[in-house]
């Protein structure tokens, strides 16, 4: 799959079957994504690569609405048979919404990590400060490619 493929016409990049929407912001190490919404809030979730590494998710816990979370601290935790880990807040802020569907059926994340499988929505305290640490657009591609190759990941949505 070429680097340029996915950049023409559509706003996503695909590599080894892994879909990376280019309008989102990413933390590569934790494989989490962030979307800036029109109302100034941000939505967060696990990437396609992240859901493959975790395997079929069996349990999810998300912080309550109203909780204030510091950047880098867990706002949710996920667990599968072979993986358990936190979803760290990519921005400092307040939890304003959480995906109840994910709490009931965590493997929605495996099927639709960027859509129905979103995890939490937060109201950031200083978005401009925190977003500087995230990758966006074309700069995501090289780092994500390195990660996919290092961990030898092939993405599949069936679990």
């Amino acid at each position: 799959m070429g680097l340029a493929q996915g950049l023409e016409g559509t706003n996503e990049w695909e590599y080894n079957g892994c879909i990376i929407p280019l309008d989102l912001y990413y933390d590569i190490e934790t494989q989490t994504w962030l979307k800036v919404n029109d109302d100034g809030t941000v939505t967060m979730g696990l990437t396609d690569v992240g859901q493959v590494r975790a395997g079929r998710l069996l349990h999810a816990r998300i912080k309550d609405i109203g909780k204030v979370i510091k950047k880098g601290k867990p706002v949710a935790s996920l667990e599968s048979g072979k993986w358990a880990g936190p979803i760290n807040a990519l921005v400092e802020g307040e939890v304003v919404d959480r995906n109840e569907k994910v709490l009931e059926q965590p493997d929605i994340i495996n099927y639709d990590p960027y859509g129905e499988g979103w995890i939490v929505r937060m109201k950031p305290y200083d978005l401009q400060r925190d977003i500087k640490d995230l990758l966006h657009g074309k700069e995501v591609i090289e780092e994500m490619r390195k990660y996919i190759e290092e961990w030898d990941i092939i993405c599949m949505r069936c679990t």
Partner: protein
């Protein structure tokens, strides 16, 4: 010691425990303090990436599982359907096992658990692997444990000659469970007892496992299984909980026992094996009930918990215990 004076991690704020049960469990906690002191092991073996807010292991995998049958199991018990084998590294021949062990050693792995699926008599056919196991121990210096099924004299003595460090086996205390869940109507609790006897006679470090809720989520033979295990003076006892997700499709909606019911099994084990380590193994379902299970386990005086739920590590410290982190399989607890 004030059990309810412990520091509460934010993740435990909403957890409600049964006060009467906690008072009952104090007996177990006193047994652990008297006979084992304050050390408590928290294991995180390398087959699973595990990271919660107050517990994680930073090193690479040190202890992993190998299956000599890959994903295959002839029994396909209702509670497992071979899924427990899926995360294991396959090594289907002695040559493959040697190659896999060398590869793991070069990556910094110090110990392996060798297991596999059972044949229709409940036996994991490890016979061709004795020689390689011995080489792995002697030439690579690795810790080798075997998780077996039922054993005969040949298997028990072969493992002894191979010099394996510990032998693990699931002990079932109810004939109906053996017939229905394990699909072994021609076997009974006597066969499991006989396996323990053969292994003990061969001088093995025995680390039996008892699965809480094995009979479709009900507690049935667990107390008897523990009593049988206690007769053979094991090196340690591992308690695990049935995991519905691992079962066959039509059993996946059956809930495991309530943590309050499981706590009574843990206390029974603590009392029956007051001089030997009792640990909580890696297999138990995720979710809010696991937090309660782990809390009750701490109060009941277990010697270790594998993959502790979020907040448990912190809570153990606040109970005055001294947490010891281990990247190994919990079956190594007797070496501590």
């Amino acid at each position: 010691m004030d059990f309810r004076g412990g520091q509460i991690h934010p993740s435990l704020e909403d957890v409600c425990l049964d006060e009467e049960l906690l008072r009952e469990l104090e007996e177990g906690f006193h047994i652990r303090l008297k006979n084992f002191g304050k050390d408590i092991l928290f294991h995180s073996p390398g087959f699973k990436h595990y990271h919660v807010d107050d517990f994680s292991i930073k090193t690479g995998p040190k202890f992993v599982d190998i299956s000599i049958t890959g994903k295959n199991c002839e029994l396909m018990c209702d509670h497992c359907a071979s899924k427990i084998l899926w995360h294991m590294i396959p090594a289907l021949t002695p040559e493959e096992l040697w190659k896999v062990a060398n590869d793991l050693k070069s990556k910094g792995v110090d110990g392996i658990l060798i297991s596999g699926g059972s044949n229709k008599d409940g036996v994991v056919e490890l016979y061709p692997f004795f020689g390689v196991m011995k080489r792995i121990r002697e030439e690579l210096g690795m810790f080798v444990s075997c998780h077996v099924g039922l054993v005969d004299k040949r298997l028990s003595e072969g493992l002894r000659e191979a010099g394996v460090d510990a032998v693990l086996l699931d002990i079932i205390g109810d004939d109906q469970t053996i017939a229905e869940v394990y699909k072994l109507p021609h076997k009974s609790t006597i066969d499991y007892e006989e396996s323990l006897r053969l292994l003990k006679e061969a001088g093995h470090n025995l680390v039996p496992h008892v699965i809480i809720g094995l009979h479709y989520g009900q507690i049935r033979g667990e107390f008897r299984a523990i009593d049988v295990v206690a007769q053979f003076d094991p090196s340690a006892l591992v308690l695990v909980v049935v995991m519905p997700y691992f079962g066959k499709a039509r059993f996946q909606l059956l809930p495991p026992p309530k943590p309050e019911e499981s706590a009574k099994v843990i206390l029974h084990a603590r009392k029956a094996l007051s001089q030997r380590p009792v640990v909580i193994g890696c297999a138990r379902p995720a979710g809010p009930d696991r937090v309660k299970f782990d809390l009750y386990a701490l109060h009941a005086g277990v010697n270790g918990i594998t993959f502790p739920s979020e907040g448990i590590f912190t809570y153990a410290k606040s109970l005055g215990l001294n947490p010891v982190i281990s990247p190994n399989c919990c079956s190594t607890v007797f070496l501590h």
